[in-house]
Amino acid sequence: MVDVKKVVEEVKKIPEVVFATDLQYSCSELGQGSIKEAIRTYHLDRIVVSSCSPRMHEITFQKCIEGAGINRFLFEMANIREQVSWVTMDKQEATDKAIRLTEMAIYKALNLKPLFPLKSPVEKRALVIGGGISGIQASLDISLAGYKVTLVEKLPSIGGRMAQLEKTFPTLDCSA
Amino acid sequence: MEIGYYPGCSLESSAKEFDVSIRACFTKLGVSLKEIPDWNCCGASPAHYLNEELALSLPYRNLIKAEEAKLQKILSPCPACHSHLIHVYNEVIRDPGLNQRLKNIVGKEFKKNSVSKHLLDFIKEDIGMERLKESITLPLKDLKVACYYGCLTRLPDVNIDDIENPMIMDKIIEAIGGEPIDWSYKTECCGASLSITRTEIVLRLVKPILEAAEEKGAECIVVACPLCQSNLETRQGDINKKYKTSFKIPVLYLSQLIGISQGINPAELGLNRLIINPTPLLLEKGIFEK
């Protein structure tokens, strides 16, 4: 258990922090709306979200702040779910830890620079390795979508294991 | 070559012929056996659960006795004895604390200079098939032999051959001119020491083994364990009585068959001690002359 209000209070003390608040479900549409609103109201240029794992929602928040006109890489996340509330049972300890992690994220955010994605052209042809049921099906799927496919099979014929089988379960239809 | 020899209790009485035949055929192979001085019983399986430390200490004393006599290799024909000796050896190497404990019980410290080998292992590795073949004067002339291993390959710390389909004895039989049969009962359990306490179980277990050997055309069964020999041979009469069968298939020790092929006098191999006399078979096959 983390005392989120306490975390907010503490980080507010950092001079560079212009605005801090606690939101329930900040990843939801409503939550994202509040973030965007705060960006506009306070002219924010770095955003830190202290919540779950970046694996889960980093991209969500990056898109959110991009929508408010900030480069998406000026965003930092502190994971106070897996790294705190799921593993630290004592409330005081958990809150202290959450404060520390959030502060660390804030100081990193202060040093972030905008980044701009690279672009590269796409070769519109797929390679399928293996000519069994999966490889054949993949080749058909992709070709039907209108793209070229190269199917590579190690043996002299495509067909794979499936071609060795008599009828298949559970419908007992022919496998060839 | 001089090596240590640990006959074990059975080879002193009920399996005396295993003992004499081993001595005879090793002499022929130019190996002299030096019995471990004043050896004691290995404790067999009862010691195991009745008294754990005793189970380790008894073989430990034998290892010390061998070491004192400067015997680096110990030939142990009985698989159970061998398993216990090798188990203690392995445990002592693995756990120095145990060595200390056993030293306190037995009074002397084992320096790990003596190690046990089973008969099959010894023939395969230390003697070798070539040398064995060279000692043969009377090949077994296609004698059809069922090699029976029992639990030998499964015993703890015994690492002789493939567990499910051992071939080492089969290869030895082949080397001395016999014809080992291919059968799927070679590692079936004979009932071991239940022979005395629950005889009827042994009868039930041995019957299909004998049947399978006969079905595959075996003329005799060869074993490398006193308990196997006793259960497979001595109990044939009881089986015949109980199941109305008529088994009379000779069960020989491997060393006896080797000795025969080396032309050793049957009496020296203790053939006369077998309950089911193999002589008529050997005469019939022309291995013995009339």
Binding site: - | C41, A44, L58, I105, C151, P156, G237
Partner: protein, 186 residues
Amino acid sequence: MSYPSNSNIHLFRNEILNLCKQDVAKCIQCGKCSAGCPISPEMDIQPNQIIRLIQLNDREGVLRSNTIWLCASCETCSVRCPEKIEIATIMDILRKLSLEANIQAGEKNIVKFDQIFLDSIKKRGRVHELGLVIRYNLTTGQPWKDVHLGPIMFMKGKFSLLGHRIKELERVKEIFRLSRRIKSQE
């Protein structure tokens, strides 16, 4: 039976684990141990069921069974177990626990035989087979058991009448004295 509840359920499992490093929780109950056990028909509880009962903490049920005494230690179960559980080793430990707990063994004669066996070693340093069998038959009240084998075994020289006595018998007796013993044996 009612299943044991709460924290006690793993007591027996942990006891076995500590004594012989075999974890019965690995068992998937495939039954291969019972399928291959040569003594299975005579056992009141099948080997796989023994493992199950240990999982369920039924200590007494297990230690009272005749199974643990009938096990021939042939190791078939251990070498074929897909989870590498050494069932034969567990049986050995169970015999020990059963004696320690002073539970009336399902197979009294086997215990008797084993004790006479050790006694024989203690007295001579080696086992005297003839004496062993005679004493066992007398103790278990079946003096005529296997007596039909007697003459032929004797004739064939398979029994030595007196048996061997080793020189350092005192040493062996000392080993017996110093080795950690089990209470109920006394």
